[in-house]
Amino acid sequence: MINISSLTKCFGKMRALDNLNLDIERGELLGLIGPNGAGKTTAIRIISCILKPDQGEVKVGGYDVLKNPLEIKGMIGYLPEEPNLYERFTAYDLLKYFGELYGVPSDYLDDRIEELLELVDMKSRARHQINTFSKGLRQRIGIARALIHDPEIIIFDEPTMGLDPATSLVIRDFIKSLKGDKTIILCTHYMDEADALCDRVAILNNGRILDLGTPKELKSKIEGDVILKVILNDKSRLNLTNFLNRPEIKNMSWKDNSLILALQSKKDIPFILKLIGTNIKSVNTEEPTLEDVFIQNVSDIQEN
């Protein structure tokens, strides 16, 4: 659905995107994560035809961003990082304005507005002015605005940024409900959000993709499938030589009286526990998070 090849974009002397390559499948929810200034917003602005690429090629639904920007814009629903809305407009007027700009047929537009206001639970506030809305309500209207023309592709730039946990949950559930029907790009700082929602995640830094894959693939690349945390009765009784050079163990470290082992697979747990024997006081398992993956990727780059 979206094909990006050798994309480069500079702002003055600053290179925001550096030879970026990325393909996004139809119906996929792709997460873009990365530190501030990584190039996430620049990438989605180019896909949305808001910015023009300096080099490289970007195709959306077979259309080129430089040659057919209007066709592409019609396919995309875009929720910017700061969905600043026209303060004097009512929620209804705002949706009507953007509906008309997107060319939604007038005989269908009112029904569509009703439908979306219901979807984002804002029907009772339809005739209220935007300047009376909280940040969460503005975000809901922003989402309704992005969906007014029923786009094939939806781009969310930090949709839950600065929202309270309850509202964030509502927005995440809403994005989840769109999965499958639409091709979605989600830029986020929240790793748990990307982990929970995305089919694939691309980690961006300095305008380049550091890693790309499903959250599970990314996590297993650095730590394995599972982290085993074993609290020992007596640390000195443990024969560490048994654990060296074992293929099941990807990483091993100590924290106080606890032995922390990153294992290749959950299946290896019984074997490892057998090796430790009766010295075990308690056992706990946890899975690596995308945050670990992100920090590892970014810190590797910084070390290099």
Partner: protein, 406 residues
């Protein structure tokens, strides 16, 4: 279609704004007051009376006058001075008890003994505790000059009877009104007609720079319509608002007694002038980062527009040359004055309007399309100008070649 949607919503938004409506009608009231002021001013000029800088209140100050031969009295302005005839030149009582501020007397004997080129002899006494004395002094000196000229004329006529005087063959050729009156009547009428166009700079700034300041522009750019459509749509809304106010304004001018020949034609010319004007303010708004920058830019733009409109019009009044018809204000002056119009008089202003509109809207859209203008870092004006004329590409090419060579 996209442009029209923007225009429609901009107009709706503008007309829904109470602040705008207040400003809109407040401007009309101020303009109306200006009409009344100019009407009075013109009436004063047409009455052939001297325009005095002193206060125009009736009989502002009182003056005792001893003028037995009635030489000075007819030249004193009774609208400004209350004239109190005195019986004798030694009467000072009224001046001392504050009945009048000044006293003037003329000695008849001395008048005709004096050289004719000298002012008539008179004595003026003023109450120096009364600030009105300055008005009296000014009026009396003016009347003295006039009386002296009159006496001189009589004296010359007596010396040289008319049939004996051999006068040079010089004839005064009068074409219409006096040039100063022409400037005031024609130019001021034209300026008043064009005035509403200068009241809407804030609207185009708000409509384009406001999108940047409120950060709503990014959403607008993401819509399936070209940047050209956005600029044209917004500009069209401002032109329609201007046209609406101009219609009300011209109606008020006519109701206030201004004689506007062919008001519909004048209206169309002024509205046409609004098109490039909005275009040039569009350039400023596209380039400006915020309201402050736009405000400075609009001031410079308006100075340039005023120069372009008024200078040829002024020059035309003193020297009617066809090229000066470039300014649409010149055309309005010609229509207001009922001057005969040549083909060039009509073609030139409209050609300049079309040419400038193309240049201004093209530049405005060109700027609005640039990523560096909207998202930074914004290039300098010289860099932009070089880019606009395509010189930067040539310079970059040679720069690249030079680097390769090195």
């Amino acid at each position: 279609m996209g442009s029209w949607t923007i225009t429609k919503w901009e107009l709706k938004n503008t007309l829904n704004s109470k602040k705008f409506l207040f400003i809109f009608f407040f401007q009309l009231v101020v303009l109306l007051m200006m009409i009344l002021f100019f009407n009075n001013f013109l009436a004063g000029l047409e009455s052939e009376q001297e325009i005095a800088l002193s206060p125009s209140l009736d009989q502002f100050a009182s003056l005792g006058v001893y003028d037995p031969q009635n030489i000075l009295t007819p030249q004193l302005n009774p609208q400004i001075l209350e004239l109190i005839p005195l019986d004798s030149e030694v009467e000072f009582k009224g001046l001392q008890n504050g009945e009048f501020t000044g006293k003037v007397f003329l000695s008849t004997d001395e008048i005709f003994q004096a050289e004719v080129i000298e002012p008539i002899p008179m004595q003026l006494y003023l109450d120096y505790q009364d600030p009105k004395r300055n008005v009296i002094r000014e009026e009396v000196i003016l009347a003295q000059d006039k009386s002296s000229s009159l006496i001189s004329q009589i004296w010359i006529n007596d010396l040289f009877p008319k049939d004996e005087i051999s006068t040079p063959q010089i004839e005064e050729e009068v074409q219409g009104e006096d040039i100063s009156l022409q400037i005031i009547r024609k130019l001021m009428t034209a300026i008043l007609t064009f005035l509403p166009l200068f009241l809407f700079g804030n609207l185009i700034v708000d409509t384009i720079v406001g999108e940047k300041e409120r950060k709503t522009g990014e959403m607008l750019i993401a819509m399936p319509l070209s940047r050209g459509n956005i600029i044209l749509g917004k500009s069209m809304a401002v032109i329609i608002t201007m046209a609406f106010q101009l219609a009300l304004w011209m109606a008020l001018m006519i109701l206030a007694g201004f004689s506007l020949e062919n008001p519909l034609v004048v209206y169309l010319i002024v509205v046409s002038t609004a098109i490039p004007m909005v275009g040039v303010t569009g350039i400023v708004a596209s380039f400006a980062k915020n309201y402050k920058e736009a405000g400075i830019g609009i001031t410079f733009a308006y100075i340039a527009i005023i120069t372009f409109l008024i200078v040829p019009a002024l020059a035309y009044i003193s020297q009617p040359v066809e090229i000066l018809s470039l300014s649409s204000m010149t055309l309005v002056i010609k229509i207001v004055s009922q001057d005969p119009l040549s083909r060039g008089d009509i073609i030139l202003p409209f050609a300049s309007i079309i040419f400038l509109s193309i240049i201004f809207y093209y530049s405005s859209i060109w700027l609005f399309k640039r990523d560096d203008i909207l998202f930074g870092p914004r290039p300098g004006i010289i860099r932009l100008l070089l880019d606009f004329i395509g010189l930067n590409k040539i310079l970059d090419f040679f720069n690249h070649k030079y680097k390769l060579y090195k």
